[in-house]
């Protein structure tokens, strides 16, 4: 200890400071180490360095100026970094330590389904052949890739009960758009174009945005205290001018729409279609099938229900499954299996809505989802849904009393609370979330769904152990107490992160969206 002190950098602690503050100052003084202050890659750059070497050129060299002409050629990309391989490794390794992922701990982000991303998925997606085949290679040479797509599609049809599916959409929002366009194409063909899409006010923001881009006017319908459709309300809103009802089931409060059959019957009776946002399908896999609900078209998020990684915000994947009535309108191409067992791409589908993405979608995500389905099997998938629902209900009961419930209906895979009680002390859902970070957890989803004032939307998934859930409950209980005793302390959170709360208003007022060399900045 004595030796350690003598080697410590000089402290500016005035004499007489309490021991605790001296220690804190010392800790702060040690912070300038580079691994906590990693610069931008551009700021690490020194001319002449590079992180790659090339084999000698085995063909005659050509000069860009000569073959492109002086007016089209470029001598250098100004400002581009120049660093060695080791510096790149250190740079991004350090950055990674400033992130929190599912592998770090509980990530109960409601609606996002932050479940474990199995390592075998990553392994198989990187196999040569699957990771390297070109989308335009002759079909005979890519039977493996086509087979994987076909089998993934088959499994997803089986799970949803739907008749046909496309894996092309790149993510959930694009899937919504594709699904709505199929409805639009079908109605147009019937000579019954309609103008409106009904969306409950509990829905994800992508629903109204997608419907609008598909050329429809959105009519928001008010949901009841469970976030569910009020049948009397729907009866009134479901006119002959409504193309579809977009419904999330279970809804964003985690509650199953128990009148789903009556709802679809009503929508169908008035000539409309039922679109189901399958963002919460993880509560239903192996338990119930949307096809039986009367759903005509739905999407799945492979990055939620089927364990493909979120990757810090993508890539996702949004397959769209349909009933036979909408099958002719699926995006081009579709994958088919010939009687001889071979797989092929069918482009000869004149009623298709066309393409929604180049090539065949996020193939790598289909590989991972299939590996996940195989690892689980039917029983595993069903147990997964049951565990996710049990975990959410355990949290729901354990936190009731500490926080005000968002709804009085029993939830399935996620539970929602309101910050009403804490807001009276000036602490909002976003502040409680920041304080949770100090306890070592990733926060829940804040301020969504919009129908619950100051929502705390918590989705533990099946990947949370009881031990972890108990620690989480303990953290939220402590924070509830802190709000009573010292709200300012919660308002200043997080206290333990590398950076403290960031000034979002300043970022938006004068946007700085790129680095510039100091002489240009």
């Amino acid at each position: 200890m004595t030796l350690g002190r003598s080697l410590w950098p000089p402290c500016r602690n005035p004499p007489g400071l309490p021991e605790r503050e001296i220690m804190e100052n010392r800790i702060r003084e040690a912070r300038p180490h580079v691994n906590r202050n990693e610069k931008l890659i551009f700021e690490r750059s020194t001319p002449g360095k590079s992180g790659v070497d090339f084999a000698p050129l085995d063909v005659p060299p050509v000069s860009p100026e000569e073959v492109l002409g002086p007016e089209l050629s470029r001598s250098e990309v100004e400002g581009f970094p120049e660093v060695s391989e080791l510096e790149v490794i250190r740079h991004f390794t350090r950055l990674s330590t400033w992130n929190y992922g599912v592998d770090t701990g509980l990530y109960p982000l409601g609606s996002c389904t932050m479940k474990y991303n199995p390592r075998i998925n990553e392994e198989v997606a990187r196999l040569e052949g699957l990771a390297t085949d070109h989308p335009y290679a002759p079909e005979a040479l890519v039977q493996g890739c086509l087979g994987v797509l076909h089998e993934t599609a088959r499994c997803l049809k089986e799970i949803t009960g739907m008749d046909a599916i496309t894996l092309q959409p790149a993510a959930g929002a694009q899937a919504e758009l594709a699904g709505i366009l199929m409805i639009r194409a079908c109605l147009a063909e019937r000579g019954d174009p309609r103008r409106h899409i009904l969306i409950p006010d509990s829905a994800h923001g992508t629903n109204p945005a997608s419907a609008t881009i598909a050329g429809y006017e959105v009519r928001n319908i008010k949901s009841d205290e469970c976030g569910c459709i009020d049948l009397a309300n729907l009866e009134h809103a479901m006119t002959e001018d409504v193309a579809a009802l977009m419904l999330t089931n279970p809804n964003t409060l985690g509650i199953f729409e128990s009148k789903i059959r009556e709802i679809s019957d009503l929508v169908h009776a008035r000539g409309g279609f039922m679109y189901m946002d399958g963002a919460n399908m993880n509560a239903l896999v192996g338990v119930a099938r949307p096809a039986d609900f009367g759903v005509d078209v739905m999407h799945l998020n492979l990055h939620k229900t089927f364990s493909t990684p979120h990757g810090g915000g993508g890539p996702g994947s949004g397959p769209v499954a349909v009933k036979n009535v909408l099958e002719p309108y699926l995006p081009l191409p579709i994958i088919e299996q010939a009687p001889d067992g071979g797989f092929g791409l069918n482009y000869d589908r004149p009623r298709s809505i066309g393409r929604v993405r180049a090539f065949y979608g996020n193939f790598g995500m289909a590989v991972r989802a299939l590996a996940y389905i195989q690892a689980n099997g039917f029983e595993g998938l069903r147990q997964t849904a049951r565990d996710a629902v049990l975990n959410a209900n355990y949290l729901n009961s354990s936190l009731t009393g500490l926080y005000e419930l968002g709804s009085c209906c029993p939830p399935m895979h996620e539970c929602v609370f309101s910050d009403r009680r804490q807001a009276a002390r000036g602490v909002r859902t976003g502040d409680i979330a920041k304080r949770l970070i100090d306890y070592g957890f990733h926060p829940y989803t804040t301020a969504f769904p919009l129908i619950v004032p100051g929502a705390l939307m918590i989705e533990p998934t099946e990947s949370a152990s009881k031990e972890e859930l108990d620690a989480f409950i303990h953290a939220l209980a402590s924070i509830a107490q802190e709000v009573e005793e010292d709200p300012e302390f919660v308002l200043q959170a997080p206290h333990t992160t590398r950076v403290t709360r960031l000034d979002e208003a300043a970022a938006a007022r004068r946007p700085v969206l790129r680095w510039k060399p100091s002489h240009q900045a």
Partner: protein, 460 residues
């Protein structure tokens, strides 16, 4: 099940705490008749070795071991091992969108670096944190131009990737937008006089690709002049952005977007890929997708946050600039790592290698009697050749020597019968190019020896 952390006794304890007697009760709200009765026909449960075996077998039924001369929007480049090593840091790949900035600075700083790298390459002022892919980035650029100009007509060069055009067509049709395709001229470039004729006061945007689908560079400066005279925006989409290391960026454009799969993302049978969108700063508020901005924390330290979210669907709902929610963050990270590794000199060197290989191959092929390189404009690592015989036969001959000889353009351009789009990146050895040339010669000989020669007319 190996992924589930709770034991039966954990489950029992939790169930007890909820006051329920069975897990079934949580599913009470699902009407009895809607509950699944029997088991589903699904594979598994499989152990890890069994899963590996399934996918290894699938991977064997692939083109692994073939030399691919395919490009056309998906480019095979060598990816340094450091890229995968860093991408596999699970702090990166198991994180969500960085909404909680204090514990997502890693992703946020990397995205800020990505935005910077892409603007440095394209010569634009601002860039977003990525979009799904090149086709959807092009579509989003057009939707952006429609919002900016409040006009309703879009001109698209026929030399834009045909699948990008198809995606654009799927989406903008719904907005009542008129799409007009512009022809190419003999050089393989956009026909400038058709552009002049087609431009009018209703034109919101003109979309060109450079290098275009035929691999040749467009005259973006001249195009921009005409486009701006009519008050429309010029959108340049780029499917092979490696070209930007040696090709002057289209700074006269208003939006430069495209596909950045070339930068460290595997070809992977078409996805996931990496769309990018960069633009002039004055159009910032109309940009789609996530943006990362620099700011400070309470102590004045630099940090990064998602910014200008008021454009986005989770705030604006039906009034959002786009319905996009996810981006391609992990692919953008791959590109950031890849570009950092190569750096200024490495990227330039790599582009020169591509240029040298492609030009060597083009010269060797064009030297074969009867083989024509129809488009004379400068090209980067892709070019078009027309053999004097049926391309299907040639491609079959090439396959015998383990070469995928290129894309038959007839698929997208009926008038380009037996025209092949050939891509030669740094991964193709001189030996493979020479093998390709040999196969052309052999096919020429075997066709000359058969009676079918006259039956194989090639249309221009």
């Amino acid at each position: 099940m190996r992924y589930l952390p709770n034991s039966d006794s954990d489950r029992a304890a939790m169930l007890k705490a909820t006051g329920r007697s069975s897990v079934e009760e949580f599913f009470d709200r699902i009407p009895e008749e809607l509950r699944l009765q029997g088991p589903l026909n699904l594979p598994g449960p499989l152990s890890e070795p069994e899963i590996l075996e399934y996918f290894r077998q699938a991977a064997q039924r692939s083109a692994a071991g073939y030399v691919s001369l395919l490009g056309a929007g998906a480019y095979t480049h060598y990816v340094p091992v450091a890229v995968n090593a860093l991408l596999s840091r699970s702090e990166f790949f198991t994180a969500y969108t960085p909404y909680q900035a204090e514990i997502a600075q890693g992703t946020l700083q990397a995205m800020f670096e990505f935005q910077t790298l892409m603007t440095q390459l394209t010569g634009m002022e601002v860039g977003n944190a990525s979009l799904y892919d090149g086709s959807t980035a092009t579509t989003e650029a057009v939707l952006m131009a429609l919002r900016v100009t409040r006009r309703n007509r879009v001109l698209v060069a026929r030399t834009v990737h045909p699948e990008y055009y198809q995606v654009l067509n799927t989406f903008v049709r719904q907005q009542g937008t008129e799409l007009v395709q512009l022809p190419y001229e003999e050089s393989g470039q956009l026909d400038l006089s058709s552009l002049e004729t087609a431009l009018n006061a209703a034109t919101a945007a003109v979309v060109v690709q450079s290098p275009n689908f035929f691999g040749v560079l467009e005259r973006t400066a001249q195009i921009a002049e005409a486009v701006h005279r009519s008050g429309a925006l010029l959108i340049v989409t780029i499917a092979e952005p490696l070209s930007l290391a040696v090709v002057k960026p289209p700074t006269e454009a208003d939006i430069v977007c495209g596909e950045a799969q070339s930068f460290g993302v595997k070809v992977a049978f078409g996805g996931p890929y990496l769309g990018f969108l960069t633009a002039k700063e004055k159009f910032l508020r109309q940009m789609p997708g996530r943006l990362v901005g620099q700011t400070v924390d309470k102590e004045g330290r630099r940090g990064f946050v998602l910014t200008l979210a008021t454009r986005e669907q989770h705030i604006r709902r039906e009034k959002a600039t786009s319905n996009i929610c996810t981006n391609q963050s992990l692919c953008a990270l791959a590109a950031t790592i890849y570009l950092s590794l190569l750096g200024k000199n490495g990227l330039k060197r790599l582009a020169e290698l591509n240029l040298a290989k492609a030009h060597y191959a083009a010269r060797q092929l064009a030297a074969i009697p009867g083989v024509i390189a129809p488009f004379r404009a400068p090209h980067f690592n892709e070019f078009v050749v027309r053999p004097p015989f049926d391309a299907h036969e040639l491609l079959a001959e090439l396959r015998k020597v383990k070469i995928i000889g290129g894309l038959n353009l007839e698929r997208f351009y009926p008038e380009l019968r037996s025209h092949l789009l050939v891509c030669v990146t740094e991964t193709v050895s001189r030996e493979a190019i020479d093998r390709t040339v040999e196969a052309y010669r052999r096919t020429a000989e075997s066709v000359a020896g058969s009676d079918e020669l006259t039956g194989c007319k090639t249309a221009v």
